[in-house]
Amino acid sequence: MQLWLGFAILALVLWGITGVTQKLSTNRITSARSFLWFCWAMMALSAAVLLVARPHWGLAPLVVACSVAGGALNGLGAWTSFRALESGGKASIVISLVSLYPMLTVVLAVVLLHERLTGMQMAGAVTAIAAAIMLSLEAPAKAEA
């Protein structure tokens, strides 16, 4: 297996677990407070990184700007997804809709970074998005008698 794929699958597994832990959290506290403690945990993780790892500095300004922007975009995205759910959007529709985000990344990466996808990878990207949407559709509740 290619190394990048191993790390991508590790991210998939870790984020997949957060789907359950986040639900366990928001069943007990508001999504805003849950998000707040999510952010505090990110700070704690960063403190641990500073203690354990030896970060390599001396970065180009563009790299620094993109890393900081990554945090801001990711955090804001989480916040807007909560707002979508709180603004009357059905969870099954909102979550399915936001599952389309990798399609935008694909388009931006092809157009701006000139990445190239093989035919198989293009089919895989479309299949992945379809799968993510299908996975977000919860089983309907049984009809009442």
Binding site: M1, Q2, L3, L5, F7, A8, L10, L12, V13, L14, W15, G16, T18, T21, Q22, S25, N27, I29, A32, L36, A41, M42, M43, A44, V49, R54, P55, H56, L59, L62, V63, C66, S67, V68, A69, G70, L73, L76, G77, W79, S87, V94, L97, L100, M103, L104, A109, V110, E115, L117, M120, Q121, G124, T127, A130, A131, A132, L135, L137, A139
Partner: protein, 157 residues
């Protein structure tokens, strides 16, 4: 133009959903650009710096909506504590996931491939929810689970 023919306003939930797509879609792109120079540790530090303004904003909002000092029963306090612990654990796992995502980009994965692979994380969530939360999976979710494996195979080709 009559009132009936006037275009409807974009529903608020749809606006926030589209904003989410734009923000997360752009996040994949900027992460790939950052991966050309930063390692996952430095990225985690800078990524957290990017979250701080939002942390302050949400913190102030929560303080306004849920003023401290309100008397709570022991049961409510315990429930709140559990919720906070799960949220904190979510943040640690989410951060480690971010580092793995970033390392996938550093190790040569294209953003156009890594983003769709990692977006399949609900496949793990639904399996865990099935096993630990005893949730039922619908037929469409089972099909989605199968399709997710096909997608990973195709994307890694």
């Amino acid at each position: 133009m009559t009132g009936e023919n006037r275009p409807r306003k974009l529903p608020l939930w749809l606006f926030w959903s589209l904003a989410t797509i734009a923000l997360w879609g752009a996040w994949g792109l900027v992460s790939k650009v950052a991966s050309a120079g930063a390692d996952p540790y430095v990225n985690q530090l800078l990524f957290t710096a990017g979250i701080i303004p939002l942390l302050v904003f949400v913190g102030l909002t929560v303080r306004k909506q849920e003023p401290a000092g309100k008397a709570q029963s022991a049961e409510a306090r315990e429930r709140r504590g559990q919720g906070i612990r799960w949220a904190f654990f979510t943040g640690i796992l989410g951060g480690l996931g971010n580092m793995a995502f970033f390392q996938a980009l550093v190790k040569g994965g294209n953003a156009s491939v890594v983003a769709p692979v990692t977006a399949l994380f609900p496949m793990v969530t639904v399996v865990l929810a099935l096993v630990f939360l005893k949730e039922r999976l619908g037929r469409v979710q089972w099909m989605g689970l199968g399709l997710a494996f096909v997608a990973i195979y195709l994307l890694s080709a």
